[in-house]
Symmetry: C2
DNA sequence: TGCCTTATTGTAAGTTTTTGCAATAACAAT
DNA sequence: ATTGTTATTGCAAAAACTTACAATAAGGCA
């Protein structure tokens, strides 16, 4: 089964519909892999699907994130970016030089458990961005 | 010494200037205590300082956050909110009902240590927003 | 006090993101 | 295949946020 058929079934199971707009955006996210801004996603998806509009891109990205097919992050500054949902991970961004690294969720999972125990919340999600000072900028 | 004089000295020490705009915004943040959007802050500060403009509010909030006098967060949805800098803390927001609780930084200090050891980054900052499902929504 | 440097602000315009609503199209049922 | 229901989209406008640059004013110094 193709991966787009997978996505379609996942949405149908929740009572949602697959559309050409959602497929085009998912295709862009899968193809790029990295975090992308809504504007970048719009430009790329527009080439696959002429007539696609910006409000649809914004709504679709939020929808995909809510339904676990995409992840959103505030990596850079205040602006949201999106990427396809894959292995659980987090980010650390250097406050000085803006370098960004990924951290596997596995490294923090026991501490997430502690957080869940202490707070009573369950199913606390990954893909958090932390800010710190990178090794290179510590020496300068 | 008044707290505004404290703020003034903190800025001067870094080569920055205290202005009526910064004082008005700091006063609003101190008075409210909670997270506020730039628009809310603008409306309140405008009453204290007629003539204040929105671009100044956005720039000032970013400036105050960079210099440790305010904290920014993405608590709600995609939008940034700000609050006065005080005790280190984090937030957990319920994905279902949007209820938000505060978590003392102390609870996460071992997570932060693990993160600093694993990544090599130092001085990783607090005030992170986690998303999960609150106790009440777990039962429903 | 009065001047000088330059950090900071206001203005005006641009860009990004959101919203309400009518038109469209997915897909379940016939 | 045709139809009906309604989730989803496009459109148009509004709201939120950013930018470039000239005007202003904070605060160091004579
Ligand atoms: Mn990521
Ligand atoms: Mn907070
Ligand atoms: Zn760095
Ligand atoms: Zn809840």
């Amino acid at each position: 089964m193709t991966c787009s058929a997978e996505y379609t079934l996942q949405l149908r199971a929740r009572g949602f519909r697959m559309t050409s707009q959602r497929l085009a955006i998912l295709h862009v996210l899968r193809h790029e892999g990295t975090h992308l801004s809504p504007g970048e996603i719009y430009k790329k998806a527009l080439m696959e699907l002429p007539g696609l509009t910006e409000p649809t891109v914004y709504r679709t990205l939020e929808f995909l994130a809510e339904n676990g097919l995409a992840r959103s992050s505030h990596a850079g500054g205040g602006r949201l970016t999106y990427q396809i949902a894959a292995a659980d991970h987090h980010h650390i961004v250097c406050r000085v030089c803006k370098t960004e690294i990924e951290v596997e969720h596995r490294l923090l999972s026991s501490l997430y458990h502690a957080l869940e125990t202490a707070s009573g919340f369950k199913n606390i999600g990954s893909h958090v961005t932390f800010f710190g000072v990178c090794p290179k900028c510590q020496t300068n």
